[in-house]
Amino acid sequence: MTTERTNTEPPYAGTPEPMPQRPRWLQAIRDTVTGLLGPFLAIVTALVVGALIMVFTDPDTLDAWSSFFSDPSAALDASWDLVYESYRALFDSSLGSPSAISRTLVQSTPLILVGLSVALAFRAGLFNIGGAGQLIAGATAAAWIGIHVDLPTVVHLPLAMAAGVAAGAFWGGIVGILKARTGAHEVITSIMLNFIALRLLDYALSTDTFKRPGRSDPISPEMPGSVRFPELGGEFDIHLGFPIALLVAFGCWWLLQRTTIGFRMRAVGANPHAAGYAGMGVAATTFLSMAIAGGLAGLGGTSILLGTTPRLTGGFFAAVGFDAIALALLGRANPAGVVGAGILFGALQAGATGMQAQTSTPIDIIFVIQALIILFVAAPALIRTIWRIDASRLGTGQRFSAGWGAS
């Protein structure tokens, strides 16, 4: 009962111990290191659990375990080999060579952008589970520009990106306006809008506007070269999308920490009552936050279309919307953290393909690991129990959502 505790606080407790003054930069470094401990342990734990799952679902390894008592080393060797080979292949094809690193960075681009969308909404007190719908909206709009407009790259590419941002912002804005005007919980509305977007995309791909001529399956024509992100050249073959994502991440940080809009968003996120009493316009801020978040997710969808996969397909990368939740949590809803988490997830996903090719470990184990990362980041107490470490060093779990419905 927290209220009880504040009440019992003796009135004379007003003077806290003066803290020993450390240089501020030193304190900042210490904070960063402690802040990284939780996510680091979460990742390690998830990889360990993932390894256990691999071992106990692999038929050959299980055979070795069945004769554990006669030949224990065989079981352990088989397990070790399986895990080692899988994770090594994962590492090699994500970070092992310049081309692998490029793949990782390219893969991480949409993850970072959609992750920023979720993170920004978190800071404004909103749980944006609607990244999937928003990125589909963005990609669809960008695809329309790509297919139906013919312009030189310098205009065409920015135009397509702008369309993607606008469509995503529109899709997110619906959630924002429903929340602001009627109090409808953003989780429910954005789940519903995700499915509506998926169906609309199916529909769009069945119309002549988006259908690839001569094909009956839901697929659009290839995007023309003039809207594609240009390659940057050099040893790493990454395209323009990645630096754009980094720039956007910086922009998010600047917006949140250095502008009055960000101040307002954070205040509404931390205490909407007080924000309202301070005259901040909670409804408008909520709408704006969801629209910006939607725009970021829309840009994320656009970056897939203009970068790695230059065509619309049914269900276009909807899963990225859920990956984004994991990495916003992992990055502690902080733009720099999201970039780090995005690169990590990019590496996992880029590496998974290689892993599946080189070993027989199915690519889907990556999603299990991602899910576990969500769990361990959200439940520091679990990590504490597993690793038996001091509670205060991990901080508490984040809380983003109240009950739904009437607010």
Binding site: T57, H185, D202, I365
Partner: protein
């Protein structure tokens, strides 16, 4: 904050009136619009000599004669019926005004069914039976959500729980060669995931939406992984077979109703049983009273000696079992095999049905039937070559849920403590 305890009576009434009035006007307007749409879209496009034929029997049977309906007249009658409902709604000051809207949409659906079968034969029985089939997992899933949320634990993990249970049921049924073993294991899988959800949201106090997201992604990843790892290698493990319908003597002989309601698989019977049992038990038993008190005001429950945590754990696990049953439907009641991501968003439709049904079992069943109908209508219309893109019908459940949560036709009443972590004294 309490207001003035007895404000002038005139004011109170005036205010209540404006709220109810506004809702009545919205509902009336929508009813009339729906009615006019029926008249214009269906009545005007049909010609006087067109007849719609609807079959009332399962394929291959002929207990009832086919219905022959003049399309245009039927459209006009149904359309004007909806308009009449709107006019009545305009005058009504009725808290259950949304019933009018439901009725109007019902008339619209009926008109569409008849209109689509103009100059042709529509399988009306097939449409209704198919709708019931499709709504079974949705209603069971909604019960899963409802059991959790009535105690104040948000459950967006119905999808994941169903998917995992579908897998668990299929593989165990195939391995044991016994469907009942599969069903039991499917329910146990659901219970297991329910227990996980309970532990992470009650004991570890993880944000319940984050916890639900974890389960959804985990279940999808894990079942896909295991499919690739196990089922692809041992395809025999993915051939569980399906439950056959159970005929209830005498009742199953009744035309239309008989084959529809009394010749279902075990899933259909269990679905109806649980829906009506829960609807009764929530409001008439000690269990129900305590469950609802924990969902509304856990601290009040705690201070009268009710163990909030126990009630939450128990219900979330029950909910998991219900999702397990729903999941088993996919493999043992319908497809006869497990496919990656085969629940394909049904868990979220179940969530929508629960919300649309305002956390009441019968309401959720109604919603599930509507959602099942809108899916089945899609097949029906496709057979009749009707130019309505299927995507829009498939979108309907999500759209109506949006409308409901936005409070456009009256705000649903959510369990007050939904999503809140409870900590006892220390």
């Amino acid at each position: 904050m309490t207001a003035v305890s007895d404000p002038p009576a005139a004011h109170t009434e005036a205010v209540e009136n404006t709220g109810a009035r506004r809702r009545a006007i919205v509902v009336a307007g929508l009813c009339i619009a729906v009615g006019l749409a029926v008249v214009v879209l269906f009545g005007m496009t049909a010609t006087a000599d067109q007849t719609s034929t609807l079959t009332l029997n399962p394929r291959g049977e002929d207990a009832l004669p086919d219905l022959h309906i003049p399309t245009q007249i039927a459209s006009f009658v149904l359309g004007l019926g909806a308009v009449a409902l709107g006019v009545r709604a305009w005058r009504a000051v009725d808290p259950r005004i949304t019933v009018y809207l439901g009725a109007a949409f019902g008339l619209f659906a009926l008109a569409l069914v008849i209109w689509a079968a103009r100059d042709g034969t529509g399988a009306f029985y097939g449409l209704i039976a198919g709708s019931l089939q499709r709504s079974t997992p949705i209603a069971l899933g909604a019960m899963a959500g409802l059991l959790c949320e009535r105690t104040g634990v948000i459950n967006i993990a119905i999808e994941g729980m169903m998917l995992a249970s579908a897998f668990g049921a299929a593989i165990t049924a195939a391995a044991s060669g016994n469907l009942w073993v599969g069903l039991g294991c499917g329910v146990l899988t659901g219970a297991g995931f329910g227990a996980v959800h309970a532990v992470i949201s009650i004991k570890y106090e993880v944000d319940q939406i984050v916890g639900g997201t974890f389960i959804n992604i985990f279940a999808l990843g894990m079942t896909s992984y295991l499919t690739a790892r196990v089922l692809v290698e041992y395809p025999d493990l993915n051939q569980p077979g399906t439950f056959r319908p159970i005929d209830i003597p005498i009742l199953s002989e009744i035309p239309f109703i008989g084959p529809l309601l009394f010749s279902q698989t075990i899933f259909g019977y269990l679905m109806f049983f649980f829906v009506f049992f829960l609807a009764w038990a929530l409001f008439n038993t000690r269990w129900g009273l305590r469950v609802r008190s924990v969902g509304e005001h856990p601290r009040a429950a705690d201070t009268v000696g009710i163990n909030v945590f126990f009630i939450r754990y128990r219900n979330v696990i029950f909910g998991g079992m219900m999702a397990g049953l729903a999941g088993a439907w996919f493999t043992l009641g319908s497809a006869g095999r497990f496919d990656e991501n085969m629940t394909n968003g049904k868990g979220f439709i179940a969530l929508a049905a629960m919300i649309f049904g305002r956390w009441h079992p019968v309401g959720a069943l109604t919603a599930a039937l509507i959602f099942g109908f809108s899916e089945q209508l899609n097949d029906y219309l496709a057979l009749l070559d009707t130019p309505i893109p299927s995507e829009f019908l498939l979108m309907a459940p999500y759209l109506v849920t949006l409308v409901v949560v936005a409070g456009l036709v009256g705000r649903p009443r959510v369990p007050a403590a939904n999503g809140q972590v409870y900590r006892s004294g220390e």
